[in-house]
């Protein structure tokens, strides 16, 4: 059985591909809407949309996610039909397609979270299938668009019209009139021969005999109108029918070739781009860390050699050079994790469109993503905050058109989202509206606080948990938890900053300054000495229960941390109390767990109070020399607004045993 294993294997790939296609689809949907408003067809966007849906359908089928297959299939049908009509989408199709796109997005997101994927909503599927190609639809379209005299048109059946409408196979429809005559028959040109030769060049839909008054032009009083689907050049057709080239009349231009398998012109492969799962880059970074550790050991070995009197100058040069190369390599890997800010902001237009619609407002979005790049992990964390601010900007920062007119503003509210690289380490993102500004007094009243004196204080008030500026939570702008979450993400989690500028009647601007890259690790959190800590999962070999019966006390000198040994499956592992190493107040109650790390191949165990859990944390390096201590690599925020120390227990173990060695020496 190739069940769950295969699914898991494909799922990552599916999510990446689906995500990309959904983004592309969102963009194309907007361009279709834009064209539709001006009454233009959108051949290219519809084609791309069709392909995106076809791809998503195929991928979803591969991982067996039926609701997505159904939705993509329904969209595909509508789009295929529109594509056949040269990219003309019925005006009433857009909303249904957008709803279906959102439904797919929701389901892809659920899949990514590992949540249950909801069934495809039936009413939506039905709505789409109502738009889809009804049996007579292409035929009707052909009737409307192909100009044929009634004497021919009247003789064509439904299936022939459908044939003439074309099916995206690159053939055009032509009409060739063959006039039989005895002279031609003498040359071997009879309707039977013409039929055969034309049949070899294309598909004859119908041959319609038309009676004409017998004259010099039509000596037999008869004309055969051949309706042909063909990709052959006019000259060949004319030759086959024994007519002049001008007599091959075009009924319908060649329908573009629809081949969903054909790669998209601007797909990654053609640009020399390789899509890589971030986890693979993280893996490379981890391997690099191992290299860095080895380099430190090398450096130490060289220092020891030097201390023993050896001439190590040449060796030292190599070690230095090696260190530089490692730094360069790290930089190169970090750059590979960068994505363009434009990619991150790609969904903003669709979001704004949806919000403007659901709030009946007119919003003109000016999106300027510039050329900045940022770490994918940062982008993933920042984007929800952007969504929230954009929501707020439309919901609170754009007045209804009539109100704007009364205030002497253009009907459509202007929303500007822009970003640029502020420095080599910081990205500045601006979300600016020209709305009514924030009513600080009303806000303060609602929060039961003093009226903030400046914009900084106003921002502080806005980010108080649970604050909302509306009596009832609107459908778009939640319940006021949002601004608090924006602050938590940007400021507390990422170490960025938020600046607010607002002027009554003129608008509100939020400026987010965010680091271009961050270090994210998978970490265990635990308590020790009444304080939480985290340790990277990658450095932990094992977490074991500490049973008093497994512990043996080793003799240790005065004033030193007590050293004990832990019996771990028959092997003696040195065990130290982390709290006594750190001189922390012990917590009352029995000890529970030991975190085992391996230093130079030897296990070493730290006893701690309690394991709290495992989570991804953003590590922020500690730069100030006052707090840069051995074994402490940085700090993180576990969500309480307090810094929590990130420990490197391996170097701590190293430090401990070196200290012991020093004392002995």
């Amino acid at each position: 059985m190739s069940g769950p294993v295969d699914l898991a294997q494909f799922l990552g790939g599916f999510l990446v591909e689906a995500d990309e296609n959904l983004r592309l689809a969102g963009r194309n949907m907007l361009s279709v809407e834009h064209d539709l408003k001006q009454g233009l067809p959108s051949p290219r966007a519809v084609r791309d949309l069709y392909r995106s849906m076809h791809t998503i359908k195929g991928l979803a089928a591969m991982v067996g996610v039926e609701p997505i297959v159904e939705l993509a299939h329904a969209m595909e049908a509508v789009l295929r039909d529109a594509d056949r009509r040269g990219g003309r989408l019925p005006a009433n199709a857009l909303e249904g397609l957008l709803a279906a796109l959102r439904a797919i997005e929701e389901r892809v997101a659920a899949l990514a979270r590992g949540a249950t994927v909801a069934e495809a909503p039936r009413p939506l599927l039905e709505r789409l299938s109502d738009l889809g190609p009804l049996p007579g639809q292409p035929a009707a379209a052909a009737r409307a668009s192909i100009d044929l005299p009634a004497e021919i048109a009247g003789k064509l059946g439904e299936s022939e019209w459908t044939q003439l409408a074309g099916s995206g196979d690159g053939r055009r429809a032509v009409r060739i009139d063959f006039i039989p005559s005895t002279a031609r028959a003498a040359e071997g040109l009879t309707i039977t021969g013409v039929r055969e030769r034309i049949g070899a060049l294309g598909e004859i839909v119908k041959v319609v005999p038309l009676s004409r008054p017998a004259d010099a032009q039509t000596p037999g009083g008869l004309v055969f109108a051949l309706l042909v689907l063909t990709a052959a050049p006019d000259e060949a057709l004319a030759g086959a029918a024994g007519v002049r080239v001008e007599e091959v009349r075009l009924l319908r231009p060649a329908s573009p070739v629809v081949a969903a398998e054909e790669p998209l012109e601007d797909s990654g492969a053609s640009r020399g781009v390789v899509r890589v799962d971030v986890s693979r880059l993280d893996d490379a970074l981890e391997k690099l860390s191992a290299l860095v550790v080895t380099r430190f050991r090398l450096g130490r070995a060289v220092a020891e050699l030097a201390a023993a009197g050896a001439d190590v100058r040449a060796l030292q040069q190599i070690v230095l050079e090696n260190g530089r190369q490692l730094r360069d390599l790290r930089g190169a890997i970090m750059r590979a994790r960068m994505i363009r800010a434009r990619e991150m902001l790609e969904r903003v237009p669709l979001l704004v469109r949806g919000l403007a619609r659901s709030t009946s407002k007119e919003v003109v979005l000016d999106l300027d993503a510039g050329k900045a790049e940022l770490d994918k992990a940062v982008a993933e964390r920042v984007f929800p905050a952007i969504v929230h601010l954009v929501r707020n900007a439309v919901d609170h920062g754009a007045e209804p058109p009539a109100e704007r007119e009364r205030a002497g503003k253009p009907r459509a509210a202007a929303l500007r989202v822009s970003c640029f690289e502020r420095s080599s380490t910081q990205l500045e993102l601006t979300i600016e509206d020209d709305g009514p500004g924030i009513d600080a007094e009303a806000l303060a009243r609602r929060a039961g606080r003093e009226v903030p004196g400046n914009e900084e204080a106003l921002l502080a008030l806005l980010t108080v948990p649970g604050l909302t500026t509306r009596d009832a939570a609107t459908a778009t702008s939640g319940r006021g938890l949002g601004m608090n979450i924006v602050k938590r993400t940007i400021v507390d989690d990422l170490g960025g900053e938020i600046v607010l500028r607002t002027a009554r009647g003129r608008g509100t601007t939020f400026v987010l300054r965010i680091p271009l890259s961050i270090t994210i690790i998978d970490a265990f959190s635990f308590r020790c000495g009444q304080q939480p800590f985290v340790v990277p999962v990658a450095l932990v070999e094992e977490i074991v229960e500490v049973n008093p019966t497994d512990i043996t006390r080793a003799p240790s000198g005065p004033g030193r941390a007590e050293l004990r040994m832990l019996d771990r499956r028959g092997a003696a592992v040195p065990l130290v109390n982390l709290e006594s190493v750190f001189h922390l107040e012990p917590e009352a109650g029995a000890r529970r767990k030991a975190i085992v790390v391996r230093r130079n191949g030897q296990p070493f165990a730290f006893e701690v109070d309690q394991m709290l859990g495992q989570q991804e944390v953003v590590v922020r390096p500690l730069q100030d020399p006052l707090v840069r201590r051995p074994g402490i690599v940085g700090s993180t925020d576990l969500g309480n607004g307090q810094p929590t120390l990130v420990l490197d227990l391996i170097s701590l173990a190293h430090n401990l045993s070196r200290r012991r060695g020093d004392v002995r020496a």
Partner: protein
């Protein structure tokens, strides 16, 4: 010309710092201890998204550590590339002092204060001490520990 100064209190005495070097003042509710850090480092605290070391001025000035009170404040200062939080018993006043009126600290004070007090000045009728920020946040002890 008078310049703005931030006044803060440590163990009953008043100290002043030129406002230009002060980023902000915040109330203080505690910090995360950093094992191995010098004793005058109370720990780390998060201030507007930055994680800063907190220097307990009481301990730095050779006094007993005191429990946190509702009056406890940190004065966040910028010293070159470093930003640090100075923990004081209270800090709420901003006053104007003319730098011309700075007077060198009496020799005895300078000596017993390990050079932390650079000069003295008058804020109105009160005598305040101007601290040598670099000395106070200095890291001279770290490398020896």
């Amino acid at each position: 010309m008078s310049l703005l100064h931030v006044l803060f209190k440590v163990a009953g005495a008043e100290y002043a710092l030129p406002y230009s070097g002060v980023l902000l003042m915040e109330s203080y509710t505690g910090s995360t201890r950093v094992p191995g850090a010098p004793p005058h480092v109370a720990g780390l605290m998060q201030v507007r998204g930055r994680v800063l070391p907190v220097i307990d001025l009481r301990v730095r000035f050779g006094l007993e550590r005191q429990p946190v009170t509702p009056d406890s404040r940190v004065v966040v200062v910028q010293a070159g590339p470093r930003a640090l939080a100075l923990l004081a018993d209270s800090a709420r006043e901003v006053v104007k002092i003319d730098p011309e009126s700075y007077r060198p600290a009496p020799e005895m004070v300078a000596e017993s204060g390990q050079g932390f007090v650079k000069s003295v000045a008058h804020a109105g009728s009160r005598l305040v001490m101007l601290i040598d920020l670099d000395k106070v946040i200095g890291e001279e002890r770290i490398h020896g520990s």
